[in-house]
């Protein structure tokens, strides 16, 4: 069993295109689980023409204040570093729900035992299947900030199911921080997808630094390799002693299949097979 992460730093470089194409190719011979960990904007189901079914809701705990017990001391508000508990002197505390990340600082600080736990839904996990690919897809609720909690939930489900599969492909969000790191933590190998522009290279550098720090075996794919200046990417990769594993040329055909929800045929298995 091998877990392969698809990331890149910059948005719109073709992460989902590569993730679905790789899963599609592997699924011809193997049992494949594709995990869409871009929980802010999950798209893999659209690219594969999958209608998703809800598996579970991702809940986050939130404090509930028992005003009969509350002594209005204000310590809960002082303990909260996310400014989620507002307390005006002499008044009862007020929870700003979207800011609350469930840490529990208010709960533990309260001297009157006036706080208990409730919960709120911050996202959902879906599943579906098409082209012999099993998809697990996470989706953050709108106006909820903590994307990584939904990614964490995906990771947990993936851990329990991974034994059934030969390959797990994890598609991450754009960016280089919390939700991306959480998605990459479990990966054995990582493919970074970039484009030959100064922006692509700038963000690729950030993600390569991160992957080096995390000790992940890394491959690089340059998408739309013929539009821009490939030299910019090559020069950067020299510093990391990496080569370009695959160049994908711009093609209207790829764009068309992308729009129609059919996977793209790219010969990618060679990339993950290299040692």
């Amino acid at each position: 069993m091998s877990i392969i992460g698809i990331t890149g730093g910059k948005g719109g470089t073709g992460k989902s295109t590569v993730a679905t194409a790789l899963a599609y190719e592997l699924a011809k011979e193997y049992n494949v689980l594709l995990v869409d960990a871009d929980v802010d904007c999950p798209n893999d189901h659209l690219l594969l023409g999958i209608k998703r079914c809800k598996v579970k809701a991702v809940m986050q705990r939130i404090p509930i204040f028992d005003l009969k017990k509350c002594s209005r001391c204000g310590l809960c508000s002082k303990a909260c570093r996310n400014n989620a508990v507002v307390s005006i002197k002499g008044k009862y505390p007020l929870l700003m729900q979207p800011q609350c990340n469930g840490c529990g600082a208010c709960f533990f600080k309260c001297p009157s035992d006036a706080i208990s736990w409730g919960e709120k839904e911050i996202g959902r996990i879906y599943s579906g299947k098409n082209h012999n690919i099993n998809l697990l897809s996470g989706e953050l609720a709108v106006n909820e900030p903590v994307s990584e909690l939904v990614v964490n939930s995906l990771n947990k489900i993936m851990e329990t199911k991974k034994k059934q599969y030969d390959f797990v492909v994890i598609d991450t969000a754009a960016g280089t921080h919390c939700p991306v790191i959480t998605a990459l933590e479990k990966c054995d190998k990582v493919i970074a997808v970039t484009e030959p522009t100064p922006l692509g290279a700038h963000d690729l550098k950030l993600i390569l630094d991160l992957l080096k720090h995390m000790g992940k075996e890394t491959r690089v794919i340059v998408n739309r390799s013929d539009i821009g200046e490939i030299r910019i990417v090559k020069n950067l990769l020299k510093k990391y002693r990496l080569g370009i594993s695959k160049k994908i040329r711009f093609s209207k055909k790829i764009l068309e299949s992308y729009s129609k929800g059919t996977p793209i045929k790219l010969d990618l298995t060679g990339i993950i097979g290299e040692s």
Binding site: G9, K10, G11, G12, T13, S16, D38, V39, D40, C41, N43, L46, L47, R61, A79, R81, P98, N101, G102, C103, G104, A105, F108, K109, L140, V142, P145, V146, S147, A173, A174, G175, T176, H177, C178, V180, I181, T182, E185, E195, P196, T197, P198, L199, H202, D203, L206, D209, L210, H213, R224, I227, G228, E229, K252, L255, E256, Y258, S259, G261
Partner: protein, 292 residues
């Protein structure tokens, strides 16, 4: 001072290219400042032709705390591990070890430790800088350091530095997605420009981004980039806009000039003068909407 935020949900649809060109167009009539709020991977300054060395000042900022364990004092009670909601503490050889990537700096472990073995420290989690573009306006940027968290609070720092300038308009370039850093970019904005392209993915992400805008009751307009790549999908977006009573500010054709402008580190409006009137039109529509 009015704040206009450019977002998209999906990445790579042309947010930064469009923000940069709109900034140049707006700067001809108003005093403006740009705020690059994609602190995960900041690109706006690059699109405006600003290089690292051009920054007048970079300073480390701290919006986050983490903790240190004094293992000599540790009584191995496990309270810190068992009560960390973010699973940020590993238990190894009967002692705690912090998983730094996961620590949110909430302070619960420190509060619960009976031995006072846990102490907080401020993390310098980002650098914040500003620079003058060659178009006469400033751009404020920040970059979250590798493996650090707290992007939402860093975005707030970028916006508050931009708000200190005597500009009429702050143009905010948001990150991809709709999570923490994007929410921090949107809060308190006067107008939102949502950039999209004609693909089912970008359309789905656009709708999620617009729900965020409507949650905060901020008026918005849509720009459809690369509209000619899939005309039936563009039709869907336009019908959606009409139904939702959202202005379509512009339809921009697919053009390799976007990429070549980036490679040349110039805003599109400067690289290819034929885009001047289009961006002036967008500017005028946006200004009308915010009463400038």
């Amino acid at each position: 001072m009015k704040t206009i935020t450019v977002l998209s949900g999906k990445g790579g649809v042309g947010k930064s290219s469009i923000t940069a060109s709109l900034a140049v167009a707006m700067s001809k009539e108003n005093k403006i400042i740009c705020a690059d709020c994609d602190v995960d991977a900041s690109n706006l300054a690059l699109v405006l032709g600003v290089k690292e060395k051009d920054y007048s000042e970079w300073k480390d900022i701290s919006t986050n705390q983490k903790v240190r364990f004094d293992l000599d004092k540790c009584g191995s009670c496990r309270k810190c591990v068992d009560n960390c909601y973010f699973n940020a503490i590993d238990w190894i050889n009967n002692r705690p070890r912090l998983r730094e990537y996961s620590c949110e700096g909430c302070g619960v472990c420190e509060m619960l430790c009976p031995q006072n073995a846990i102490s907080p420290y401020q993390v310098k989690n980002a650098k914040l800088g500003h620079s003058r573009t060659r178009f006469g306006f400033d751009v404020v940027s920040a970059q979250l350091k590798m493996g650090e968290s707290g992007s939402g609070k860093v975005v707030s720092e970028v916006r508050s530095l931009a708000a200190k300038s005597p500009a009429d308009i702050v143009l905010v370039d948001a990150a991809a997605g709709i999570g923490c850093p994007v929410i921090a970019s949107v809060v308190g904005s006067d107008y939102i420009i949502a950039v999209t392209e004609p693909s089912p993915s970008a359309f789905s992400d656009l709708k999620r981004a617009l729900r965020l805008a409507s949650h905060f009751r901020i008026p918005c307009g849509i720009i459809v980039n690369k509209f000619d790549l899939n005309k039936s999908q563009t039709g869907k977006i336009l019908r959606f806009a009409r139904r939702s009573k959202i202005d379509v500010l512009a339809k921009i054709p697919y053009d390799k000039s976007f990429t070549y402008a980036l490679v040349n580190l110039e805003p599109l409006i400067v690289y290819d003068r034929s885009y001047t009137s289009m961006f002036h039109e967008i500017r005028d529509k946006v200004k009308q909407n915010i009463g400038l």
